[in-house]
Symmetry: C2
Subunit: 149 residues, 2 copies
DNA sequence: TTATTAACGGATAATCTTTATCGATAATAA
DNA sequence: TTATTATCGATAAAGATTATCCGTTAATAA
């Protein structure tokens, strides 16, 4: 995990560089994203921000995420069903390991997909800009609770 | 590409086996999915079905897709924005190459992710059931039209 | 062939997440 | 400190998918 303080500084610097303002609500959202390793949802972020700023609107969370996506400081994981999840600690594309039982999302240690990407470029002529790799399954805990019943 | 006729027979057999009925509308949808290699959207399927059965409802397309997902005879590719895309010719998980310019989705030839999956199982204890791998970029045509302006 | 019955089709309402809108407010620079 | 706008908060709107309801029909067996 990247040091949350360092990530926060990176995010702030990038916002300043692109002429975005640092508001208290925004800063609170940045802190949550920089330090979380559990890929929070919008509702999750919203709930935490409201502890410090009770009047915060859900739209503010969404709008901040849109800005962070624009400048590449958060990785959005969209799923067909339910809400998106966000990784602000590690904003560049990387594989994820998702438990369909409890919703946990982890960052596994895996070598990159560089070789595969290169082969694709040569074979298809595509200019590949990004990728997404998700593995779905059941975490050890959910395997237990499933076999228990 | 798998032979569309063979895929159609597989889909019909699987539906029968699970006590689902083969209706004219359903059959039309199956044929489209079995023979298409361009990962059609719901609207795309809907438009084609209406040529033969003008009274078909959009809900019927959705309901048929839900059934096919249940029995594993179609692969759903959900994206955060816009509608889903479907692969009925190749229903098992496989990588996709997606042009963000024109929306084309292709099935590239790539060796499997078997090694990566095994390593993940050992390292994390997860029971991995499925995966998804998408590469995003610009197809050769879209690269040209972009550089032209 | 006909009767039976549960599944299906069509129409549309409801749901859910995300985005758009807009007046009020506050961050930033001069 | 003041002026300029980006941003906030509240809420409406959009868009895709699912739920609901009831008349119809495919599948099965008598
Ligand atoms: Mn991650
Ligand atoms: Mn495919
Ligand atoms: Zn789990
Ligand atoms: Zn293209």
């Amino acid at each position: 995990m990247t040091d949350p303080k360092k990530r926060l500084d990176q995010m702030i610097a990038k916002l300043r560089k692109n002429d975005f303002r640092i508001t208290p609500q925004r800063l609170a959202i940045l802190k949550i994203l920089a330090s979380s390793t559990n890929h929070p949802s919008v509702e999750n972020i919203y709930g935490k921000v409201k502890k410090d700023f009770p009047t915060t609107s859900l739209a503010t969370v969404y709008k901040t995420l849109i800005v962070l996506k624009e400048i590449g400081e958060v990785l959005e994981l969209g799923f067909g069903d339910g809400g998106n999840r966000y990784d602000g600690n590690k904003p560049n594309p990387h594989p994820h390991l998702i438990c369909t039982g409890c919703g946990t999302i982890m960052d596994p240690d895996l070598e990159s997909l560089g070789d595969m990407t290169e082969a694709l470029k040569r074979a298809t002529g595509f200019q590949i800009l990004t990728h997404r790799l998700d593995f779905f399954g059941l975490c050890p805990d959910c395997q237990k609770s499933r076999s228990a019943r």
